[in-house]
């Protein structure tokens, strides 16, 4: 088991490293390098050359990558081209704000999708299933910005109870940001729930037809006990992975939704970086999101191991 865990950890580290190589390489492809970016298109060639020298851009890409990655490991992502401030300080602040939305969204989406998925699975092909499946289909078919826009129309314009636009700075205290978290969370939860419900429903249906559930039923256990004690743990296993995968989607969804509400999180920071072509910021956000994604998958795998005794013996079929 320890071998399996350590192998899994190693492969997570390798994946993050590879992802950072890819991000670095992609950004280096940029026509005109960072020096030209800083000085603008009209800069004299001499000035560009001087700045290149100063920033160490004349050195081979491999060395620059090593510099950057060793800094990144220590939490130093360089300096923003626009503000001149260290990237990491700004990034952690925005990350804190985004975590507020992300944690709330995951809590809401996971709870509601498990409830809805179990209901749909147990009442397969009857009206509760039809209702849930139809809502799921609609939820999957509208992009986050549409849900967000409709929410603004409903809860900020028609019935003005919540702010449509956040005016707080990124450094505002958490308590001030809380009212602003509500609408983005609803918008993201709607879409995320739609994706997870599908998986929960399918696996509940599979498990309810399995032999051990039939046995439990024949033992005379009540439906509630059969579902909660026998079926749910097995049914939630595949769902765990889907939840982890949704976290990757969440990072993208957050970018869109934060933009709609002007919420000072990583998503807005990302879009500003793209607007200003602020490459160090872009690289930092990309690597941090990749690391978050890999960590979530790792957690899902280890969680699956905890839930499923068969995986603990070390015999695990390769994916």
């Amino acid at each position: 088991m320890i071998v399996y865990i350590s192998r899994r950890l190693l492969s997570a580290v390798v994946t993050v490293l590879l992802a950072s190589v890819i991000v670095f390489a992609a950004v280096q492809l940029l026509p005109g390098d960072v020096a030209t970016q800083v000085l603008g298109q009209d800069a004299t060639p001499d000035a560009v050359a001087a700045l290149r020298e100063q920033m160490g851009l004349n050195r081979p890409a491999v060395l620059r990558f090593l510099d950057w990655i060793t800094g990144a490991v220590r939490g130093d992502f360089g300096v923003s081209l626009v503000s001149g401030e260290p990237v990491s300080a700004t990034l952690w602040l925005h990350l804190r704000n985004t975590m507020l939305i992300a944690v709330a969204t995951i809590a809401v989406a996971v709870t509601s999708s498990i409830v809805l998925g179990v209901v749909a699975g147990l009442y397969r092909d009857r009206w509760p299933d039809t209702v849930v499946s139809t809502l799921t289909l609609i939820g999957m078919s509208v992009p986050e910005f549409v849900v967000a826009t409709l929410l603004v129309l409903a809860l900020s314009i028609t019935v003005p109870v919540l702010p449509a636009v956040v005016l707080d700075e990124a450094s505002a205290p958490v308590a001030d940001l809380l009212p602003a978290v509500v609408l983005p969370t609803i918008a993201l939860s709607v879409v995320m729930t739609a994706y997870i419900v599908r998986m929960t429903r399918t696996s509940v249906i599979d498990v309810m037809e399995s032999e051990f559930v039939t046995t439990a039923r024949l033992k005379g256990l009540g439906t509630g006990r059969v579902v909660v004690r026998h079926a749910l743990p097995s049914a939630l296993l595949p769902t765990l992975n889907v939840i982890a995968m949704n976290v990757a989607w969440l990072v993208g969804g957050v970018a869109v939704v934060e933009n709609v509400f002007n919420y000072p999180g990583v998503g807005r920071m990302l879009l500003e970086a793209v607007h200003n072509r602020d490459l160090p910021v872009l690289q930092a956000i990309a690597v941090v999101s990749a690391a978050v994604y890999v960590l979530c998958n790792l957690a899902a795998d280890l969680g699956a191991m905890a839930l499923n005794p068969r995986l603990r013996t070390g015999e695990r079929s390769a994916r």
Partner: protein, 299 residues
């Protein structure tokens, strides 16, 4: 099928699309969702093709004299802040959405299929290395990867197609590779190898026809995500450049005037949602008709 993760009747497990085109069509026609889905998509294609006949207004020309009108006899869904007819922009927006999304999905699925099949047939070191790199690419969220490509190469339809290909091909590779691995050990592939056929011809003549159903379902499913992704990108201002008629861009332009002219925002939203619902239902219908397990692939 007790506890089997493969769900209902699975001809896919044996030799792929064993049924003829006719049985597929029949089971598609029997399923209401599939019929609704395919009709929705067909309706969108038809409306996009006939756009110039259905409206006499230009989707891009400004007409300040008739700005911000409500729905009426002249403008069925009103006009936006620049006086452009909303119906006309939605119709032409369908052209843009369908062409760009179709091109992007086709490129991603084609590239993914070729690489996935090659990885499955060749196996070994190449396969291992490829899977590692794909894991790393998949760790970067799609919209972030798209934004990086757009930052590097600028905006425009060609860049979007390229970016979507880069982002979605790895996911297609995974699905196709898994399907091809299911086919590779079968007798007819072994026979072809024993006959000494080249990998390319084994791929084209033996493997591809037998995973065609997986690729088709993959195409329909990807298409719905690509439409969503591209519209999100336009909404953020990094996709279609104004004044291109694009649904995501229309929502972004008109949402500040939502109280005055709600239809300028709602019309593109309805168009976008119906197209994606159509694509999703079609993907569902196709996967049921062929017994491809879609829930397993939803990632």
């Amino acid at each position: 099928m007790t506890g089997s993760p493969h769900g209902a009747s699975g001809p896919a497990e044996t030799t792929g699309s064993t049924g003829t085109a006719r049985t597929t069509l029949r089971s598609l026609a029997r399923s209401t969702p599939a019929v609704v889905g395919l009709s929705l998509v067909a309706l969108h294609v038809l409306l996009a093709l006939l756009a110039p006949l259905l409206t006499s207004y230009s989707p891009t020309a400004n007409d300040p004299g008739s700005a911000l009108l409500g729905p009426g006899a002249d403008h069925w869904a009103g006009t936006d802040a620049y006086g452009r007819d909303v119906v006309s922009r939605v119709l032409y927006g369908g052209r843009y959405a369908l062409t760009v999304s179709f091109a992007a999905t086709a490129c991603a699925v084609a590239l993914g299929t070729v690489v996935g099949c090659a990885a499955a047939l060749k196996g070994g070191r190449l396969d291992d290395a490829l899977m590692r790199v794909l894991d790393a690419i998949l760790a970067i969220p799609p919209i972030l990867a798209l934004l990086v490509v757009v930052t590097v190469l600028g905006t425009g339809p060609a860049v979007i197609v390229l970016a979507v290909t880069v982002v979605y091909a790895p996911q297609v590779v995974r699905v196709v590779r898994a399907a091809a691995l299911g086919v590779a050990p079968l007798d007819y592939v072994t026979a072809a190898r024993a006959r000494g056929e080249r990998t390319v011809s084994i791929l084209v003549r033996e493997v591809l026809p037998n995973i065609a159903h997986v690729v088709s379902v993959e195409f329909a499913m990807r298409a719905s995500w690509v439409v969503l992704l591209i519209s999100s990108l336009s909404f953020l201002g990094f996709g279609a450049n104004p004044p291109t008629p694009d649904w995501g861009l229309m929502v972004a332009e008109n949402r500040t005037a939502m109280v005055v002219v709600p239809w300028a925002t709602l019309a593109p939203i309805i168009a976008l949602a119906t197209l994606v619902v159509g694509l999703n239902l079609s993907a569902d219908g196709l996967s049921r008709a062929w017994g491809v397990d879609r829930a397993k692939e939803s990632s």
